[in-house]
């Protein structure tokens, strides 16, 4: 996996769209490996929040170091907001309310972040992304998978470290679609609204199914509305 922006990175990836919440992860790690990863991961998170450690900057840092840097940045940001008594600037003004990235609509986040609720699945997703050569960047307040501008190349995942497991499933669904299509490039996904809308539908449905599976019918309903809104935006009213 390429990490091109050292100040804001983290990785993560995958989850079969239809996987139920309690389905075992698909990565090749054995249980002991996964446990070791989870322990390492949690230790990195804890360390980041309790010690303001400056992350080392290299092109390809180990995952725990990547997350430590990101978590540290968020920790400092939250401290600053307390110091100034101002709300944390989630992103520049356009992001949180107007950019239609997935983190703007992550109602499952109320139940915890993916790193809190599904650390093993998160680790598995990262392994899958890494294997595919997907670039992963951490960005507060944003969550999206973008196909590459170049046909044949894997895309990039923007990850919010506070995103829910459902949001992770959603973006991994987009990655899966891109991968299954042979990484055809952004142009491909722009050309046929019905194809892209079908992918969006699958991605939302993965989240919705998960919400229902844990008894969160209300959140599922919210996601249904978001799904309809986005599908309408993709298809328009004049789709040919």
């Amino acid at each position: 996996m390429r990490i091109d922006r050292p100040a804001e990175d983290d990785t993560l990836r995958d989850m079969a769209e239809s996987r139920a919440a309690d389905t075992p992860p698909t990565a090749e790690h054995g249980p002991s490996d996964r446990m070791a990863c989870a322990i390492s991961y949690r230790a990195a998170v804890d360390a980041a929040y309790h010690r303001a450690v400056t992350p080392e900057v290299t092109d390809r840092k180990p995952y725990d170091a990547q997350f430590r840097g990101a978590a540290d940045a968020e920790f400092r940001e939250e401290c600053q907001s307390r110091h100034t008594d101002q709300p944390v600037a989630a992103q520049a003004s356009m992001d949180s309310e107007t950019k239609l990235l997935h983190a703007d609509a992550d109602p499952l986040r109320a139940l915890g972040t993916a790193s809190e609720t599904h650390p093993a699945e998160l680790e598995s997703a990262m392994a899958r992304l890494d294997g595919a050569g997907v670039e992963v960047d951490l960005r507060h307040g944003s969550m999206s998978y973008s196909p590459s501008a170049a046909a044949g190349e894997p895309g990039r995942l923007i990850l919010d470290s506070k995103a829910s497991y459902g949001a992770l499933m959603h973006e991994m669904s987009h990655f899966s679609d891109d991968e299954a299509a042979g990484f055809p490039g952004l142009r491909y996904w722009l050309e046929d609204p019905s194809v892209t809308a079908a992918g969006e539908s699958r991605a939302y449905q993965a989240e919705i199914d998960y919400a229902y599976s844990i008894g969160e019918a209300g959140i599922a309903g919210q996601l249904e509305k978001l799904k309809a809104q986005r599908i309408s935006q993709l298809l328009g009213e004049n789709d040919e």
Partner: protein, 125 residues
């Protein structure tokens, strides 16, 4: 057929400019088609000074900056990509200016788009 983002848009290149204008501005249009329309207009603006200013307005429009087509790619980013694809000196200068007006994440996303397209961004010189 798989193609790269900056390649000619075979599906839109035969549309006339007025058709593209209508498509680009129609709220009820697919956001994907709106993005492609703005990109094609950006490409054509390389040889049309008046259209260049018109496209600049589209790229600056807050609505087009916030409307995502796929992933982090907004309509405005596609418009700027169209200017780059057109390739004239004036179009490239305008793209540089417009992207420079964006917020850091938008600039970063556009730079990634250009890098994957084989373009070093920001442009040198």
């Amino acid at each position: 057929m798989m193609s790269n983002l900056l390649d000619p848009d075979l599906g839109f290149q035969d549309l006339n400019t007025d058709e593209l204008r209508v498509m680009a501005s129609r709220d009820s249009e697919s956001v994907l088609r709106r993005g492609r329309a703005v990109m094609e207009l950006g490409r054509r603006a390389s040889s049309d000074a008046a259209l260049l200013q018109e496209v600049a307005g589209m790229i600056r429009a807050v609505e087009n900056r916030r409307l995502m087509t796929v992933g982090t790619t907004s309509i405005s980013q596609l418009g700027a990509a169209g200017l780059v694809a057109g390739g004239s000196e004036r179009a490239l200068a305008l793209a540089t200016k417009l992207v420079g007006e964006w917020e850091s994440d938008e600039r970063s996303d556009f730079a990634w788009l250009m890098r994957d397209s084989g373009v070093t961004w920001p442009l040198k010189g």
